[in-house]
Every structure is written in C-alpha cells, then in structure tokens.
Point group: C2
Chain length 211, copies 2
C-alpha cells in the first residue's frame, strides 16, 4: 500500500528489485556508511544470483550511493558534509522556485491531498519505522512538487535527495526535530491556502536547510 508510491515507469522491473532492496537498507541505516558490500553476502541475503548483485551495485555506484574501488569492491559512501550542504542548496533553489506556481495552481483537492499526507507523516512520527517516516516525508514533498507542474523536476529532486541521505537516521536525530518538521508541513499547506507564496518560500527554505 505504501510501497507502490514509487514511479510509473515501465523500466527494467527484472533486477531493479535487488537494487531497491539494497537502496532501502542503506536508507534505513541498516547498512552503515563505510560498510563493504560483499557480493557473496548480498547474494545470500537477498537470495539472488551473482550477476543481479553486480548490476545492483553498479547502479548504486552510478547513483553515487556506494563507491566502487577496483579489485576491492563496493562500500557505502561516507557522509560528505560539503556535498550534503550543496544538495540542500540546490533543493532550496529548485523548491522555492516553483513556490509561485504551486500557490497559483493548487486546487482545493490538491490542498486536501497535502493535508492527508502531512497528517500521515505525523502518524508515522508516533508509530512508524524510520523508513516509513522517510517515505512519508518524501511523499509529502513529492506531492508538493507535483503542483509545480514540472514532472522532470519532481523526479530530479527525488533523485538528488537520495544522494546524500546515506544515513537518514542522522538527519532526524532528535524527536523534537521530527515533530517540528511535521508542524512545518502543516504551515506550508496553510501558506498555500492563503496564497502566500513568499511565506511558503521562506518555510521551504528553512525546512530544507535545517536538516
């Protein structure tokens, strides 16, 4: 019910399963930064074949979630402060840029959908795993961006978010921080309702930068 949120592509469904499995384990913090991803381990862990593992690792290396060292293997990327900051900066630029369009285009139904997603996030704060929380947050922001009317932008941001979120756990260290995120989501929806684009921009800006 929650795992079908992904994309609507007719992509290689074949081996993507393994890729996503490893991806989720990294995002969930099970596979910590620096961990060496041995092919035999993954092979056994996910009950798949060697070529499947290798393709998954290659894809993750392309996404720059793991690093490939020739003849040594693949290991989860160490968190890079600079990169994280730069990605946040990019997100601020892009997400504030579409704020005007969002405020303009948002229908009553859109706002209702956002409220549902914001509420769902709150629910996951109380009783949900770290991954579910991460996905609830992602779903809210995706829906927000969809209203910007640029599908490519939605996909792009979804993509770059993964790049530095090697340890999403570390981002939401404190409970207070998470709860504040929840409140900010509601504030954003309010700003949209009141058609206050500038307020929305400032909210988005702060929301992104303090992670």
């Amino acid at each position: 019910m929650a795992d079908v949120v992904m994309d609507s592509k007719h992509e290689p469904v074949d081996a993507r399963d393994v890729t996503d499995l490893v991806l989720q384990e990294i995002l969930a913090g099970v596979l910590l930064p620096g961990t060496w991803l041995k092919q035999i381990d993954l092979e056994r862990r996910y009950k798949c074949t060697r070529p499947e593992v290798r393709r998954a690792l290659d894809r993750l290396a392309q996404k720059r979630l793991v690093e490939h060292v020739p003849n040594r293997g693949y290991h989860v990327y160490e968190p890079d402060g600079r990169r994280a900051r730069e990605v946040s900066e990019i997100r601020v630029i892009l997400e504030t840029a579409v704020a005007d369009t969002i405020v303009e285009n948002a229908s009553a139904a859109d706002i209702a959908a956002l409220k549902t997603l914001a509420a769902h996030f709150d629910l996951m704060v109380l009783n949900g795993t770290m991954l579910e929380l991460y996905e609830a947050n992602l779903a809210f922001h995706r829906q927000l961006l969809v209203l910007g009317g640029n599908q490519e932008l939605v996909d792009l941001i979804t993509e770059i978010r993964q790049r530095t979120s090697s340890a999403p756990v570390s981002q939401w260290r404190t409970r207070a921080r998470v709860e504040r995120s929840g409140r900010e989501h509601h504030l954003m929806v309010e700003a949209i309702e009141k058609k206050e684009a500038e307020t929305l921009k400032e909210l988005v800006r702060q929301h992104i930068l303090q992670s």
Copy 2:
C-alpha cells in the same frame, strides 16, 4: 586535449569506455532516436564483450537515454518535447540562481578562462564537428557554473543536459542560431566583468530557452 575535460572521478574506468562511446554516438546524432541497439552489433562495432555491452546499455537506460523493452532490447529514446521543455526550465532556474555568486566571485583569471572557452566555441563553429561544438559549449557552461561554487550543481546540470539531448543536431539546426550562441557567450562574460548580475541572468535565461 579536449577529451580529458570530463570529470575528476575515480569511477569504474573499466567499462565506462563503452558507455561513453555509445553516449557520444547518440549525442553526435550517429545513432538516431528510435534506433534499436542490438547487442551483437555494438559488440562488434566497439570490439568489446557481451557483458560490457550489456552494462553500457543498462547504464544508458538508467540515464534515460535509451529505453529498455524486456525481451526486445534497447532503443534510443524518441525526443520528448515536454521533457525537453521541463529540463530547460530547470536549467534556467538553476543557472540564473547562481548568477549572483558568479558575478561576486569571478576573478580576473576566471574571466580570462571564460573568454578563452568562448573563443574556442567560436573556433569550433567554423571548423569543428558537431560533437566538438557540443563539447565546447558544454565546457563554457561548466566553467561558468564552477564559479557558482557548488560542485554538485555543476555535475547535476551536466547530467540533466544529456537527458534530452538525444539529437543535439536538431538543437543547432541553423548556422545563424549557433553563431548567435557564440555571441551570447561573449555577452555573458561582459556582464560578469561589469558585475551586472541581472543582465547575466536575463542572458542566461534567453540563451537556454531558445534551444
């Protein structure tokens, strides 16, 4: 001398060769949109093994430059008007956003470097292949972005530029258009010299949108 411009990554150098080879052929317009990329053909054409071809195709599919149809193969993506427009929009947002920083940070040496690259582009307009022209243009824009001080942004834009440039030939259809691009490059450098950020933004905006 011109082919070392790429990135400074310590990436899998092993099979990337093949990936880049196919990539360049697509960018150069040799492999037209819709063309089916048969594994045997590529294997012979680039004198490489089957697994290498397959990895290259998988990577290009990830980059969404080719589409994978299960049990049918891979074919070059058809140009998508909507996506092209959306990518341009994203580029305008990002490249104008860093204009302020560029104007602030640009040293005399930086400006000189830009002038050299702009001149090199002009040279390629006169006597250079389509691919060389493409790369000269890319080099100029990369150098411009580097001054923005966000490395991640530089890489990101380089990446998304490739997504829709299935047929770069079609972008620079007329000679007049190309020559105008060359002149605009010089105007951008001038704006930076005069520290006119707003002028630069408008130039960048128009430069990107009319392609």
